[in-house]
Symmetry: C2
């Protein structure tokens, strides 16, 4: 299959060799350069050693509590619950949002498979939504028109006329750290009575109109996987401002055990999703450096933007004027729908030791989700053929000597 | 409710104060003494530091591979796949065993809630089985008689006549490290065509007739939670000798991503269940010390056994002649069904800084599982009223000075 339709009318073709040269210019003599690696330049050792020396490495410990307090302080959310990873966090978020088996959950087709898997873990049905060019996230206007067409309200709940299933929630995912158009999405949720669950796995340090992402949904999930802006090895967190759901999130992620000096009673199906203390120790040290990481990443993006200005047929994706992105992963976006140019750039850059990758295969094209309901996904499909992620580690923001 | 039926005819009542004195005698001047804490006396810090220094803390790294190799060497299993915890490992084991939604899975009512939850995660139905006095594990003979009564074989599969559901698997759990009667269970599995999934969360270092536990089922799960014989903070593993299921377990626990230089394609619903490298680094150091931990724990048990010999009405649970237990948690077992004596012992010992606890509340009495099918659970119910776990850390096996 060959795609060479033009997104930008008469867009020029990309000179792939030149683009690779520009990347090399920005990255300097470092080689090879990975797509994203963590930076351990703070108290990582000190805290982890303290953790080992005291013996408190597991699911109870002072670093987990401290990590959660730091997240609350940084994001402004009222509750933060540290989990074993971002997928686990999102799974519990969906349960907290009242997603039941056989419900449908709206989410972008353009996301990492974990978003879609989390819906599956609830035995609910993913329902794929298109993305928009200006945010790389879910398109609220297109969603609204689509829902007006395919849904019906019954007793204050939204139902899919075609499948008969209840549509319970919508999961905006802030792609590469760029916030979804929340002012557009909130009224859609209100109109169709959808619970909003933010997948903020990629957007720690990203702000929508001054507010940290993860604060606009009923609940939201963060990720601290090894490739994220800050890492705990593996880890995630649930954020919420809801005084009922905060404690409930903690309860569900700690096997739903009823607190007692010694007895082991559990009052509902719970999960072994608590972040171990040793991972939280690493996380505390990483969070202390987050402002520095963010400014280094921002410096790197500026250099990419400058360097690619003269390059025809491609742009560096930038934040909208009313948002502040963490620039977790920088993205080149081709002007033309030209998957061959994309693949040549991927081949050539990786051959030269520059870690690049395409965006995730759209979820509706994965075999296990190919039968799920979906709206027209024209923009997501085009973006999939045009996006190339380029090296984005904070460390690359420091000037090489 | 008061229970004071006698398990042992005319069993004498326990002198609770005396029992607490005996515990104090064995534990010496240490105070307080927790039920089980880890011992970090080897290369923990060296390995974890190496992990941080190289930046490989997350889901890919040399320590995860090394940890798996060490597990293979120690247990004799052909494949070991490190996971984020034991619950995750058991969940995937059940999927590998072909457990489908609405199947029934046989498991002991006397187990930690995670065993039962893992069945629930597959949207299968737990079906509770009684335990036996001599192993504290599932009773194969009673199970066999029960299945002969309530099941029917159709096209080589076992169905519950009462519910109409398929009974797919049985999960023996090796309580406190004491192996289930496997010679009794294997023919039951053959007769009723049940897949055996071993929950070996508590039995790393336990042997059934010379073979390490976890090798007799089709697949099995281990746990390295903070309270286990060796710990990775939080962690688990899947063991199997099956050449198809080994690689499939790895695939399922790493989001089912198809290996490729850069593309992100996944061919089935997968899980973010991979153990992070930093946790595996801790685990490698711990496994190096496992033989020493086992001998320390054994020394502690001998001291408990000696000390409690003259105490009427209670015994220290010991391994069967043909098994070798890791003695993960030592257990006192009251001769009489006397929950009041049990509770007084729990109260008094904990007050004096000695960490003791009862066994888990039986799963069929937890609200979310109270409607599940169950056989007569008389022995498990009696054991629940008679078991008290006492401090069992390896470190307590060293003689105090």
């Amino acid at each position: 299959m060959t795609y060479t339709t033009s997104r930008v009318p008469n867009a020029p073709a990309l000179d792939v060799s030149n683009a690779v040269e520009v990347l090399k210019e920005v990255l300097g003599p470092r080689s090879p350069v990975a797509l994203h690696v963590p930076m351990f330049s703070g108290n990582e050792w000190t805290y982890v050693k303290e953790c080992i020396d005291t013996g408190w490495v597991s699911s109870v410990g002072t670093f987990v509590d401290r990590f959660e307090k730091m997240l609350i302080e940084f994001t402004g959310a009222k509750y933060a619950i540290a989990t074993v990873n971002g997928t686990a966090a999102l799974h519990v978020c969906l349960l907290l949002a009242g997603v039941k088996p056989d419900d449908e959950v709206l989410l972008p087709a353009l996301t990492f498979v974990a978003t879609t898997n989390a819906v599956n873990y609830c035995h609910a049905v993913p329902h794929f939504v298109d993305s928009e060019e200006s945010t790389l996230g879910l398109d609220p206007e297109k969603l609204s028109e689509y829902l007006a067409d395919i849904s019906v309200m019954r007793a204050g709940e939204c139902f899919n006329k075609r499948t008969g299933r209840r549509i319970r929630a919508v999961v905006p995912m802030h792609t590469f750290g760029h916030p979804v158009d929340m002012d557009g999405l909130v009224p859609v949720c209100e109109r169709f009575r959808l619970v909003m669950v933010e997948d903020a796995a990629e957007s720690l340090g990203s702000y929508y109109r001054g507010q940290h992402t993860g604060n606009l949904g009923l609940v939201s999930s963060l990720s601290f996987n090894g490739n994220k802006t800050v890492t705990t090895g593996g880890g995630g967190a649930i954020l919420t401002n809801d005084p009922t759901l905060g404690p409930l999130a903690k309860h569900l992620t700690t096997t739903a055990r009823i607190p007692h000096k010694w007895s082991f009673k559990h009052d509902r199906v719970g999960y072994n999703y608590r972040m171990p203390n040793i991972n939280a120790a690493l996380g505390c040290a990483q969070l202390e450096q987050l402002p520095r990481f963010l400014s280094l990443k921002r410096a790197l993006t500026s250099r990419y933007v400058e360097a690619f200005k003269p390059v025809l047929g491609v742009g560096v994706f930038q934040e909208r004027a009313d948002c502040r992105s963490n620039y977790w992963l920088n993205a080149l976006v081709l002007d033309r729908d030209d998957i061959e140019a994309r693949d040549r750039l991927l081949e050539m850059s990786n051959e030269k030791g520059i870690g690049t990758r395409p965006v995730w295969t759209l979820s509706h094209r994965l075999p296990m989700y190919s039968d799920c309901p979906a709206m027209d996904l024209g923009v997501a499909e085009s973006l999939e053929r045009r996006i190339i992620n380029i090296p984005s580690s904070a460390e690359l923001g420091t000037r090489y000597v």
